[in-house]
């Protein structure tokens, strides 16, 4: 697999505050990568530095396969969070205009614009003024104009965050098709979107990379066995739960198998080291104490748990 983009020690300071504190990552050709993080983590700042809209305070951004003297921007397609067009233009005019600015010939630009508008489902509205487009239509037009010159890397900033559920579905569907054709990097604060679309994730937190890698790999590396236990509203059972939580940290046999206990109301959530031993110990305990539970479930932690853990710290 070929490397397309290499980012090294990227820093951006606004006055005293550092929005991005030394981010390094690389993107492989043909992969779809999500820049994942909570609001204010520095996702947008990072993306704007990649597109050249913002000058990095320090660090380097390297594109492989860039000929000497070639503009980095000619390999990039960029879709901002809420793209602003000229409202007095029609959708068709705008995509042709974008194509011409990327160096396509008039005929080529027109041809591409037609194809892309068809592709993003705006063929009907192509001749209408952009001023009358809905949010979802503008986002799809944004995709069309970003793709007009067949960029090597499509960069998107929160492509679906500002959309209603229908617009979201439309755009996510399009992205699923597109990712097989080009390399994609997008930022999001919604884990679900990243899981649905991406091969790789880069989780960033307060301007730093907290975790990065291929999604299946991260999933298997950070997957922990857990047991969830739901109790009935029954005083002795609840008392047992409180006692069990305390005993776990003191008792050597229990703390060897159970790593962590979280108790929320009638829910107990056990992160365990050895599933078999923990299951054994717990069921014995439940039978002995006659605990009234309504549900007992053994499974694995989800990516969401990992995300919350990484981001929440």
């Amino acid at each position: 697999m070929k490397e397309l983009l290499q980012v090294n020690g990227l820093v951006k300071a606004f006055g005293q505050a550092q929005a991005v504190k030394g981010i390094s990552f690389h993107i492989q050709e043909g992969r779809c990568t999500a820049l994942l993080g909570p609001n204010g983590a520095g996702k947008t700042t990072t993306i704007r530095m990649l597109t050249g809209l913002l000058k990095p305070t320090a660090g380097s951004i390297q594109f492989h396969g860039l000929r000497a003297g070639e503009d980095r921007r000619s390999l990039l397609g960029y879709l901002p969070q809420s793209p602003a067009f000229h409202n007095w233009m029609s959708g068709m005019e705008y995509v042709v205009y974008a194509g011409r600015l990327c160096g396509l010939s008039p005929a080529e630009a027109k041809q591409r614009a037609k194809e892309l508008l068809e592709r993003v489902g705006l063929a009907e509205a192509a001749k209408r003024r952009i001023g009358g487009y809905s949010g979802g239509m503008k986002q799809r037009l944004g995709l069309a104009q970003a793709l007009v010159h067949r960029p090597k890397l499509l960069v998107m900033d929160e492509p679906v965050s500002a959309l209603d559920p229908i617009g979201r579905r439309e755009v996510l569907g399009l992205l699923k098709e597109l990712k097989s054709e080009t390399t994609v990097l997008f930022s999001t604060h919604v884990l679900h979107d990243a899981e649905e679309l991406c091969d790789d994730v880069i989780i960033i937190r307060s301007g730093q990379v907290a975790l990065q890698g291929a999604l299946p790999q991260i999933r298997s590396e950070h997957r922990r066995p857990i047991i969830e236990l739901k109790l009935e509203e029954h005083a002795p059972s609840l008392e047992w739960a409180a006692g069990f939580e305390q005993r776990t940290s003191a008792d050597e046999r229990l703390s060897a198998t159970i790593e962590e206990i979280e108790r929320q109301g009638t829910m107990l959530r056990l992160t365990v080291k050895d599933m078999d031993k923990a299951r054994q110990a717990l069921t014995e305990e439940l039978a002995k104490e006659k605990v009234r539970f309504s549900r007992l479930e053994a499974g694995y932690s989800s990516l969401e748990d990992l995300f919350m853990k990484v981001v929440g710290e």
């Binding site: 050249g52 921007r73 901002p80 793209p83 602003a84 000229h86 600015l101």
Partner: protein, 262 residues
């Protein structure tokens, strides 16, 4: 910088001017201003008579202005109202696109910053020189109808000199519109600069001969035929052209330093 991309950007500016009707109403206003001056000059005695607040038996004697004087009057009308209208029409040239985010969509494409600024400037220039020509020619025609012919050469020379002064101020509008977020701030900074330079030229004409604002004086002289190319004429033209080039380069540098505001 590629000429094809620059032309694409300029064509977009023209289309915008057309769709926002600037391409129509600005030349119209200039034509109106141009026609008004000879008309009011011609009918002034009648207007004053009909105004009716003259004492009984007063005899109004007004010297009939020469054609050149009428045209000079037209230019000074353009210099006030025309300049105000142009500055207001273009005050958001860069800041508008930057504030809305439309500029960032263009500037992530392989387009040079200078092309972006130059396209705005060329868009302004075609409208400015066109509107000024239409207005001034209309005034010339009506002056010929109502007063006398003014030779073509002085007419043309005064047009070019006045146009150069306008070019200077509109370049300042462009620069301030790149520097400031506020469109109104850009218009008033540029108009303030125009006022300041004009006032300084009025107070100390001897020392301000090099200033772009003295071009207006040269234009009045040129149309009235009493023009002799003094040393300061060359200076003011040179300085003006230099400042215009510096304004464009400065705007481009400002844009490069911070392509997007949001």
């Amino acid at each position: 910088m590629s000429a094809v991309k620059l032309m694409t950007l300029v064509r977009k500016e023209w289309l915008e001017q057309l769709r926002s009707f600037k391409l129509i109403w600005i030349p119209l206003v200039f034509a109106l201003l141009g026609i008004m001056q000879p008309l009011t000059n011609y009918y002034m005695p009648v207007i004053i008579e009909k105004a009716g607040n003259m004492p009984e038996g007063a005899v109004i004697e007004m010297p009939v202005p020469s054609g050149a004087e009428v045209l000079a009057g037209t230019l000074s009308q353009f210099g006030m109202i025309g300049l105000l209208i142009l500055a207001l029409a273009f005050m958001g040239a860069v800041s508008g696109d930057r504030n809305s985010g439309a500029a960032s969509l263009v500037l992530v494409k392989p387009v040079s910053f200078l092309s972006f600024i130059l396209s705005k400037w060329l868009g302004m220039m075609t409208l400015l020189w066109g509107a000024l020509l239409i207005g001034y020619a209309a005034s010339w025609y009506y002056t010929w109808l109502l007063f006398e012919t003014v030779d073509f050469a002085p007419f043309l020379l005064s047009y070019v000199l006045y146009g150069l002064w306008f070019t200077f101020i509109l370049t300042a509008v462009l620069l301030f519109s790149t520097l400031l977020r506020s469109a109104a701030g850009a218009a008033f900074s540029a108009l303030g600069l125009a006022l300041l330079l004009t006032a300084l030229s009025g107070i100390a004409p001897k020392y301000m001969g090099w200033s772009p604002s003295s071009l207006t004086g040269f234009a009045y002289e040129a149309v009235q035929g009493g023009f002799d190319a003094s040393a300061s004429f060359g200076w003011s033209i040179g300085v003006t052209i230099l400042l215009i080039a510096a304004g464009i380069a400065g705007s481009s540098a400002l844009l490069r330093r911070q392509p997007a505001l949001d």
